[in-house]
Amino acid sequence: MSAITVEAAPKPVFSTWQFVRDAFRRHPTAIVGAAVLLLMAAIAVFAPWLGTVDPEAVSPIRRLKPPSEAFWFGSDMLGRDVYSRVLYGTRVSLSIGVAVAIFSTLVGLAIGLVTGFIRWLDAIVMRIMDGLMSIPPVLLAIALMALTRASIGNVILAITLAEVPRVVRLVRSLVLTLREQPYVEAAVSAGTTLPRILIRHILPNTVAPLLVQATYVCASAMITEAILSFIGAGTPPNIPSWGNIMAEARSLFQIAAYLIYFPGIFLSLTVLAVNLLGDGMRDALDPRLARRM
């Protein structure tokens, strides 16, 4: 009997560094997006320790000072420090973006899962969603904000309501494909209850596309919040959100453009980072699409 030699497979060496380098080589823009987003998150968390002062502290004698060593981003028409306001504004934008992404995904997921499986409900719910989707999202959010008191909670609610129909659409289309899969049919014929089918067999397959969708929702929510605040129907004016800082600068643009530029750059950078991350995730999850989009 001849000896069978089994060559030991080379032990895979995993190192975090290598993983990062690999990911970077494959999706460099996504990693840049993630890094910028982390930086913004850090700014949001550590805002009080980054050389800021009270963002709402008024100082009438130091009004509209251009950027200088004392006021890095200048001061606004009430003498408030724009650097501090912009840094604290990171908190508002990020939390609204993330909150809207989470809520609209969860609500959209719940509605989409159920309607995808219950025919008679599907017809009704989808007509309502079609109707809601016919109202341009910014307009719907504006209308909802005009009806309620300005507060961060209401802004989140208004933007979430405007975003939900699109998530429902996505989830429903996924469910309609998934429920024709053999393993779902097998589960049905084995007598599995509907809630169990939804949770065990359908839900896990919707996670990846939903994650991508959630990043886009997050990006568009941050822009919508800025638009709402900019036209005076968003976050309460005393809260330093990027949209509010820019809204206050509207009439001062020709003498103090920096009031628009600093929050504008922060907002654009953050949204860009989220979009890059979303594109990268989409490419990673669906390589077939990566070449095309």
Partner: protein, 313 residues
Amino acid sequence: MFAYVVRRLGATVVVMAVVALVVFSLLYFTPGDPAAILAGDAATDDDIRRIREKLGLNEPFFVRFGGWIWALLHGDLGTSIFTNLPVTHLIAQRVEPTLSLTLCTLLVSVAIAVPLGVVAAARVGTWRDRAVMAFSVLGFSVPVFVLAYALISLFSIELEWLPVQGYRPLREGVWEWLRHLILPSVALGTVYIALIARITRASMLDVLSQDYIRTAQAKGLSSSAVLSGHALKNAAVPIMTIIGIGIALLIGGAIVTETVFALPGIGRLTVDAILRRDYPIIQGVILMFSAIYVIINLAVDLSYMFFDPRIRY
């Protein structure tokens, strides 16, 4: 085909009915009493009760909704709380700037975005492709008003080429009218261009990998003939779809653009109405914009037959 058009029209009516119901509910569930707002501060409880009676505010939900729809079908969008003028009248006064802005933006955007997308697809992987894609991601990320202020400070304040703000009606001369629309249209159009260019590229890439494209190339057609004659026409359906869907972006963006550039259009009317809580105007504007959006998308749906004779309903 006729049956399809009828069915599609039926679906549109249902959608508009849902929109009307949503818009009406918005006002119905508004906290605060419109009668009290109308009556003013000096009104007694009796006055308010009388106004409530007169406006039919004590009727049940569906009776009021029915009355509102009936008035709507007769072209009556209600009366502005603040100015006491009919909403249709107020909207009609403001139509020209908004229509000019959106049409200008639409034309310019499509004229720029489609060639960009075609070039990116034809030269996939090259610097041209990357530049278009980079522009597209950037376009999605910079909010319209930030871009608007950047454009104003460069072209109006630094270079003094174009007016900072304002609007000139068309009857005061085409050039003056156009001059005041250039910056607003560029600001508003950027995100739209980004969207259309991206979809054009994706759709073109799909088509360019087809056999008939190789056949066309093999028989010696010039690459421009292949791109425009064979590829673009077959890639048109998704492009048309996104142009239709993107109208929603234009409408939302127009409100902001009009605010930045002080264009006296429907967007400004909306913003003023929000600040004064003039709900009938808000309702009317949403209803009108949604109707336009739905009708445009209906037209887009029907245009597929023109672009793709294979589509038979």
